[in-house]
């Protein structure tokens, strides 16, 4: 650049088109981009408020940090990048084109002699210009000859001039890509928001009540939004999420979900998510059906429709409600639907059941512990007690993932507004060769579910456990259970009635303690009443009494239901043990009621994303340009050769230059020097 006095406009132009500025912009853009990856974008505003506190929430919101890539300052950086790159092209283009065309045949001998790569030969006999130009042409050089004084000729040759096109392509590509992106950005919308023509709707109201101010017509050229459609229903709009609220984007067609389905691999993992939809054109009235899958969108009227997500669309659910702490062994009927609340009353306690999800398939790795973690209990002495029951589940690890059937997800909210979440499975699940009904509970979404396991009886039902549970909780039955136990235990022994009475009453006592809080209360009782050194023995005795008494309770409960007595075998004993564990775990279940899912009618909903992006092809053309540019720049090397010849004999001067002084160039220069010397010698 020639030096002259700079006006302020000139200085600004110099600055904006400078490399320094461009590099700084690249760095600023990189750093700004990091923000959006560290701070998760587009979360509900309430989450941000909770995370940062009121002050920082507002401050970050002002800076647009919840949607960094559409914040005004980010757009400004991009615009500056476009400006800087454009000016850079504008500034360098004439020079580049000149350089591309020029052979530099007017180079002076003095300047050529300053080159680092040069050679000179003295030849006695004449060397024709044609010999040399032919040599150059064979190597892909184009040349021009320029007569000099004293009968000399300068041959100026060059190769790889298109390298400079690479520079132009690559930089033009950046401008094109950014412009394409800006077309698809929401700048017009932002402007309309600033002018008050459009406004974000923050309230969750029915779509037909959303005011005109928050609706975008189907003529809108560029948008990206989502909608959830339950099976059998249709929409003609989508939601564009904006800041703390949304806008309604109208579509040029209506779309109805006929069916959403998931196909699975033999291993149980999902293979296909697909929505069969019916599209009806608003203008022509024409309608057709199409199945959209992931990676295979449908494009209609310039709107691309993608399979983005799925959820429950309001499945109908039927339950048996079991009151876990009532002596009543019979369930009560209960109904609900996903995304709806149902009332549940237990005595004078009122609960609201909020059904949040229904899942038809659950692929679980039971060895991994996700569905198998037992209900959380106080640690310590309890674990010693628990250790006496051989439950290999936690020790064993298997890698089998398989489908364990439908489950329902709901929240049980008490009158104080506190909620516990549940995850109940319809079908019994096999764990260590035994079947259980699983129900997971957790008090906060941050925790994993802890699962209670209700053992399954010989009729594949929960009834056997519930009858035994009703017997164990029923204080009126304890005496009878204890007496039966005593009769069986002391059979054939002559024992004083006094002793038998004592036996009965201590059994009753064990049952009473256990019914109050399971193993935990029993453990605490032993801890309190037995000195440390005798505890282990005491635990053994108490557990033996409890198990045997529970077995009698089991037989009694069967008799009450008109069933034959169970055989005294490992299976029955294991069932009673599992029942005792489940009973004990009930005290940590967080709810007095277990809602057992018995029937369902699944209704699914699909989540579709729809976009219209006129800038897409602009961006892709820019990308092609970028690839061409990059390859031209890296892999076309520009080289120039000058040969100053005296055709009728004398010195031949050779000089060579390249845009890049890399090792390849050194090698090439050596080659030319070698070959030219050979050529001249001949």
């Amino acid at each position: 650049m020639p030096k002259h006095r700079h006006s302020p406009v000139q200085s600004l132009y110099e600055l904006l088109s400078s490399m320094r500025f461009a590099i700084s912009l690249l760095s600023v853009l990189a750093i700004a981009s990091i923000i959006g990856t560290v701070l998760q974008q587009h979360k509900p505003y309430s989450d941000y408020e909770f995370e940062f506190g009121r002050f920082w929430f507002a401050a970050f919101g002002k800076l647009g940090l919840y949607d960094v890539y559409h914040a005004w300052w980010f757009i400004v950086i991009l615009l500056f990048l476009v400006l800087s790159t454009s000016l850079c092209i504008y500034r360098n283009l004439p020079l580049m084109l000149r350089e591309m065309r020029s052979f530099r045949e007017h180079a002076t001998e003095t300047s050529l002699r300053h080159f680092a790569h040069k050679a000179e030969w003295h030849v006695a006999r004449p060397v024709s210009v044609a010999l040399l130009t032919e040599y150059l042409a064979r190597r892909g050089y184009r040349y021009k000859t320029n007569p000099r004084g004293e009968g000399r000729v300068l041959i100026a040759a060059k190769k790889g001039s298109y390298r400079r096109l690479g520079y132009i392509f690559a930089h033009l590509a950046i401008v094109v890509i950014c412009l394409g992106g800006l077309i698809d950005g929401n700048i017009p919308l932002k402007v309309e928001e600033v002018l008050g023509i459009k406004a974000i709707e923050n309230n969750n109201i029915p779509v037909n009540q959303v005011p005109e101010k928050s609706r975008l017509s189907s003529a809108n050229l560029s948008f990206r939004g989502n909608v959830v459609i339950p099976e059998g229903q249709g929409v003609d709009f989508i939601f564009i999420s904006q800041g703390s609220g949304y806008l309604v984007q109208e579509l040029p067609f209506s779309i109805k979900l006929i069916k959403f389905f998931i196909k699975h691999y033999p291993t149980g993992q999902p293979r296909t998510f697909a929505s069969t939809v019916e599209i009806t054109d608003k203008a022509t009235g024409r309608s057709f059906t199409h199945t959209i899958t992931v990676n295979h969108p449908l494009i209609y009227r310039g709107v691309a429709i993608y399979q983005a997500s799925f959820q429950d669309g309001g499945s109908h659910l039927t339950f048996q409600g079991w009151n876990l702490f009532s002596p009543e062994p019979k369930p009560f009927p209960f109904h609900g639907a996903v995304n709806q609340d149902a009332e549940l009353s237990n005595g004078n306690m009122k609960y609201s059941v909020e059904f949040t999800d229904f899942r038809l398939f659950n692929v679980e790795n039971l060895g991994g512990g996700s569905a198998a973690a037992a209900v959380a209990k106080p640690q310590g002495f309890w674990s010693a007690v628990k250790g006496m029951f051989g439950d290999g589940l936690d020790k064993e690890k298997s890698k089998d993932s398989h489908n364990i059937g439908p489950s329902v997800h709901f929240k049980l909210r008490n009158a104080q507004g506190q909620a516990v979440e549940y995850d109940n499975y319809l079908a019994p699940v096999q764990i260590n060769g035994r079947s259980f009904f699983l129900s997971g509970e957790r008090a906060s979404p941050a925790q994993p579910f802890s699962y209670i396991r209700f053992p399954v009886d010989e009729n594949q039902s929960i009834g056997g456990y519930m009858r035994l549970r009703a017997m164990l909780i029923n204080s009126a039955k304890w005496h009878e259970i204890a007496e039966r136990f005593a009769r069986h235990a002391l059979q054939g022994q002559s024992i004083a009635p006094e002793m038998e009475k004592k036996f009965v009453s201590s059994t009753e006592r064990v049952l009473q303690i256990f019914a109050r809080g399971g193993y935990d209360t029993l453990a605490r009782f032993i801890e309190k009443s037995v000195p440390a050194k005798d505890r282990e023995k005491a635990v053994r005795t108490y557990l033996k009494v409890l198990e045997n008494a529970a077995f009698e309770a089991y037989q009694l409960s069967r008799a009450g239901a008109g069933l034959p007595p169970a055989k005294v075998d490992r299976r029955s004993v294991q069932f009673v043990r599992d029942s005792l564990t489940a009973f004990s775990d009930s005290f940590f279940y967080g709810s007095p009621v277990y809602l057992q899912l018995t029937r369902f009618k699944q209704v699914q909903a699909t989540g579709l994303q729809m976009t219209r992006s006129p800038g897409k092809n602009v961006v892709f053309s820019g990308s092609l340009l970028l690839v061409l540019g990059v390859f031209f720049m890296f892999y076309i090397r520009e080289r120039r050769i000058w040969l100053l010849v005296k055709p009728d004999g004398g010195d031949i001067f050779f000089a060579m230059s390249s845009n890049r002084k890399a090792l390849d160039f050194e090698r090439e220069f050596e080659q030319h020097r070698y070959h030219l010397a050979e050529l001249i010698k001949e």
Binding site: M19, S33, T37, R138, Q269, P270, N295, S613, V627, Q671
Partner: protein, 381 residues
């Protein structure tokens, strides 16, 4: 630097090809023709396109870089031998001697890991003891490791189809598989420059990074039980995967080689190991070339990713963390290239920058999966 003494090096590329080159090309094309005639019926148009493209690329690569011919021949022969041993039964991987101990995919990958570690040792020995022989052994071991890795991947591809027709897919779909790919691609890029510059002194540096990748691979496979073949999730069932993932790894591999050249440059620049490492100019040139090739391929990979995203996610650019970090990596090397090509900057600053670039790249490759959530959640740690 050697001089090429043939008078017409440009025009006579085809003339210079030996009968081995032609045999190689004919065999490859014949192989592709056999594949086409046997399986053409079940191939979609795209698969046919890929087959022709890969055949063509392998021919040109083999002609341009001679050792590739032997590599392709070996992996084709051993791969076919392995496939022939299965008789369509996956269980034979544990029963047949050759498969169990050598060329079932898991065994081959274990051999690859072992060979890479041995190669690292040999290269270091060569560097420290100034033994050209040890370095040569390192080179051979690296070639063998690459062959084993490629055989492992090919056999794994076949095994995935044995698990079920609809489960079969190219083994570049999860973190375990792409780590193998990373080790192979990085080695190949290094080996190319090793041949080009006739210099084995950088092997110790590059192979150290590859050994670290192998250590991660083994930990990930054994401790996290991630070595199994899993069916593809719906989002990955696209032909774009075959293009996007390998292209990306050429970028990652080249950036790794560049960073190691940068590390060696810094040592030489400080006056350490000057008699054992290549000259500054060579390291500088190597660094530039690796970054250039890495940048070119990374650009293509990112564009391919955006074409895929436009088809799968509903937008060519979603500012997903992985995308954003890809942009950051790209911007970083764009700045590097500007400084070097336009400002003409040389020296330790660029070497440090290349090393820093590898850290940024590693974060984009691994860190995003570990620390950030987003759409690219295919490899969990």
């Amino acid at each position: 630097m050697e001089l090429v003494h043939s008078p017409d090096e440009q025009a006579s590329f085809l003339k210079k090809l030996s009968w081995v080159d032609w045999l190689y090309a004919v065999s490859l094309i014949a192989g592709a023709a056999v594949v086409y005639s046997r399986y053409g019926g079940s191939m979609v148009l795209f698969a046919k396109g890929i087959l022709s493209l890969v055949t063509g690329l392998l021919v040109i690569e083999g002609w341009y870089w001679k050792p590739v011919r032997l590599l392709v021949a070996v992996i084709a022969a051993v791969g076919l031998f392995a496939v022939s041993l299965y008789h369509g039964d996956l269980a034979r991987a544990e029963q047949v001697f050759w498969l169990k101990y050598l060329i079932s995919s898991q065994s081959a990958i274990m051999w690859m890991s072992a060979l890479f570690v041995l190669a690292t040792g040999a290269y270091w020995l060569g560097l420290i003891a100034r033994s050209a022989f040890a370095a040569k052994v390192g080179s051979s071991l690296t070639w063998s490791a690459v062959a084993m890795g490629l055989i492992g991947l090919l056999v794994r591809w076949y095994e995935s189809y044995l698990m079920g027709h609809d489960i079969g897919h190219i083994p570049i779909s999860n973190l375990y598989e792409v780590f193998i790919l990373f080790a192979i691609v990085t080695s190949l890029i290094y080996l190319f420059y090793e041949g080009r510059y006739r210099n084995r002194q950088l092997g110790a540096f590059v192979l150290t990074v590859i050994s670290a990748a192998v250590a991660f691979l083994l930990w990930y496979g054994f401790d996290r039980h991630a070595a199994g073949i899993e069916p593809l999730v719906p989002a990955l069932q696209s032909y774009w995967m075959k293009l996007h993932v390998p292209t990306n790894f050429i970028g990652y591999g080249a950036f790794t080689v560049a960073a190691m050249a940068g590390a060696a440059y810094l040592l030489v620049n400080k006056g350490w190991l000057t008699d054992r490492l290549p000259k500054e100019e060579i390291l500088d040139d190597l660094m530039y070339k690796s970054i250039a090739i890495g940048f070119a391929f990374f650009t293509i990979a990112t564009i391919l990713g955006s074409l895929w995203a436009a088809e799968a996610w509903g937008g060519y650019w979603s500012w997903d963390p992985k995308e954003t970090w890809a942009l950051i990596v790209w911007l970083n090397y764009a700045a590097w290239l500007h400084l070097r090509m336009i400002k003409g900057l040389r020296g330790p600053v660029l070497a440090w920058w290349a090393i820093g670039g590898l850290l940024v790249t590693s974060f984009a490759f691994l860190g995003v999966n570990m620390f950030l959530s987003g759409l690219h959640s295919y490899g969990h740690l």
